[in-house]
Amino acid sequence: MKLIAVIKKEYREIVKKKSFIISTILTPLIMAAFMFLPVMLMKMSKGEKTIQVADYSGFIYEKMMQNEKTQSSENKIPGKQKGDFNRDYFDKNTRAEGSKLKFNKIATAGLAAEELLKLNIQAIRAKKIDGFLLIPTTIKKDRKLFYYSGNISDFETNRYIQAAIRTVVSRQILIEKQINPEIVNEATRDIEFETIKVKKEGTAKSSAGIEYMMSLFMLAILFSILMGYGQLIMRGVLEEKNSRIIEILISSTDTQHIFYGKIIGIGLAGLTQVAIWFLFGMALVGKFSMGLDSGILNFLTLEIGMYFIIFFLLGFFMYAILFSIVGAAVNTDQEAQQFAAPISYLLIIPFVMGIMVTQSPNSSVAVISSFIPLFTPTLMFMRITVSPPPLLQILSAIFMSLVFISFLAWLGAKIFRVGILMYGKKPSLGEILRWIRYK
């Protein structure tokens, strides 16, 4: 009963905190922004781009337009159609929807390139046009053209223009060499590049970029909540120690009740928060699935959600115990920060390794480190999101973590019991370890 009283108090104290309420609301909003933003940005930024073309070569613009005409008159880029390599290329690599590029040819007769350039740069600055494409007469020989724009980091547009013109030039060269047009068509056909994710059951089309981002995003959430709650627990314990409430608590109940009650109570608060996010995420995905990138949809499965909760809990208990030991052992916030630093490294290491794991989830380093209990919560979860390891591996890592947590809890309760009543000087690590042997 007393254990429940401690759990209840710790739970309520956290849940009523402003920071809890704010982060509970804010995180899903950031999450939503992260999920919808790429699609929305593409739509917004590519609403319609007007690009002026000064074609000194005399053939590029017309040939490009011939290719375009087979499509809608609006130059809608995606909308895949066999034979139109540009669209295919574009579709595969960017999954953009509704992007429009509008090419306007401007008269070049009797005008020097310098003069045209000056005029168009002014137009770009005035935002009358989005870009200016200067195709020199020497394009066939030099294979070089110039593109001026306020936004040159729009790789999608850059690649589109580059690819389209490369093809036009190649075809022109081949045709001038009297190659059979059919062979020319054959030779310059686009190569489809389709990425397919191998899942435990079946395969799903997915874009590698978004998958990678989602994995890292989940890792970041995991990292920040483990860190956040760890710090919260540490400060709570330190407050009880410094305000000496701990003496009242100890004179009322067993220290183990205080220690476990605290960790369980705060753990439940954390679980509440994650559950809210989880439900929010499900609702979001359910309601707005059409607005979402299919890569994200494929990623955010129920399974991933379950694993997230499991590994959140494992990580939570490990780090909660470690941070509460620190809180009990030290006397001031400064000392707490000093001792907490190495624990933070224990979290940062797998965070950094997590980035590597997303790239090569089955490398031996990734596999082995995902079995180190302190790293399991982050790294095993990473492996699952990127390329699910065999179930046996997952289960044994979970089991090992549970054993480790039991050991840590036993150890923690002992150190907590002694440390929480030690005032005065900063303890050394050796002293803290000696506390384990106190009765």
Binding site: K2, K9, E13, T253
Partner: protein
């Protein structure tokens, strides 16, 4: 039934090779107020922490209400630690409910009792306020409420008067006497001997970890007899050091306790005093606890 509320036998505690508590033994009877007296650093708090099982003694035994310490017993003891603090961000009622539940009470019982006690301590309008909004004195009173909320049989109070103004010292004293009437045993640790003197039934004096004196207050005082003279005066007392028949004195400014080598010299002293200062009172009295303590410490004899 066992008549002892608390029995300590040969308690020893060392900290880093320094002996904080050195073979302290004493017994507190049920239903009495026992004063654990001594200057700061004498070992009072260490002794109390051992009684509360917060730290383990290196040697010796402790029996509470006739039994060795047990987890179950905690619901029967009210403990006010020396250093105070409560969850600053929590509301008063929430603090009381949490700490009450830790003592095994039901939330409804706690609410009911808390309202009564808050009223009694003049804190009833603060029920929904946060602890950090209370003044120091109010927080102190709240802490005393926490200590007695579960109606324990034994109260252990470490410096209960510190931080209280005279009005609240009155209030706390009254509450303690009420509790005593209800049959509650009280251990009261304090360095403020003049307050202790007014309410304790028996006392244990400790200095530098050792017991120097213990017994019933009335008996101890009787031992010293009415050999002291208490005066109230106005004027300059510098002449006192020139009086060779005075053994010692303690000057409080407007009050003085004087001990004579031979009480027969009291008229001589009165004459001297009347000539030197304006005298408002002159009476034979028992020595104050403070005086007894200083005597005992100077004698250097462990009792």
């Amino acid at each position: 039934m066992n008549e002892q509320a608390l029995v300590l036998k040969d308690l020893v505690k060392d900290f880093d090779g320094k002996r904080a508590v050195d073979r302290i033994s004493f017994t507190a009877r049920k239903g009495e107020i026992l004063g654990l007296l001594g200057p700061n650093g004498a070992g009072k708090t260490t002794t109390i922490r051992m009684i509360m099982n917060i730290i383990a003694p290196d040697q010796g035994t402790i029996e509470i209400l006739g039994r060795p310490f047990s987890e179950k017993m905690k619901n029967n003891i009210g403990y006010l630690p020396e250093e105070r603090g409560l969850y600053r961000k929590m509301k008063i009622m929430d603090v009381l409910i949490f700490l009450g539940e830790l003592k095994g009470l039901q939330a409804d019982t706690i609410r009911e009792r808390s309202r009564r006690l808050l009223q009694q301590f003049d804190l009833n309008s603060y029920e929904q306020k946060k602890v950090e909004e209370l003044s120091k004195g109010m927080a102190q009173k709240l802490q005393i409420i926490v200590t007695i909320l579960h109606e324990p049989e034994l109260l252990i109070l470490d410096e209960p008067f510190s931080g209280l103004d005279p009005l609240n010292i009155e209030l706390v004293t009254r509450i303690l006497l009420e509790k005593k009437k209800e049959g509650v045993s009280i251990i009261l640790s304090t360095h403020l001997m003049e307050y202790a003197e007014k309410i304790v039934d028996s006392l244990v004096m400790i200095n530098q970890g050792r017991k120097v004196l213990d017994g019933k207050l009335t008996e101890i005082k009787a031992q010293y007899g009415k050999k002291f003279i208490r005066i109230e005066y106005e004027g300059n007392s510098a002449f006192m050091s020139g009086l060779d028949y005075v053994k010692g004195w303690k000057d409080h400014g407007r009050e003085m306790e004087i001990e004579l080598i031979d009480l027969a010299d009291k008229n001589r002293l009165l004459k001297e005093l009347s000539a030197r200062v304006s005298l408002n009172a002159f009476q034979l009295t028992e020595p104050s606890l403070q005086h007894i303590f200083i005597r005992k410490v100077n004698e250097g004899v462990p009792a």
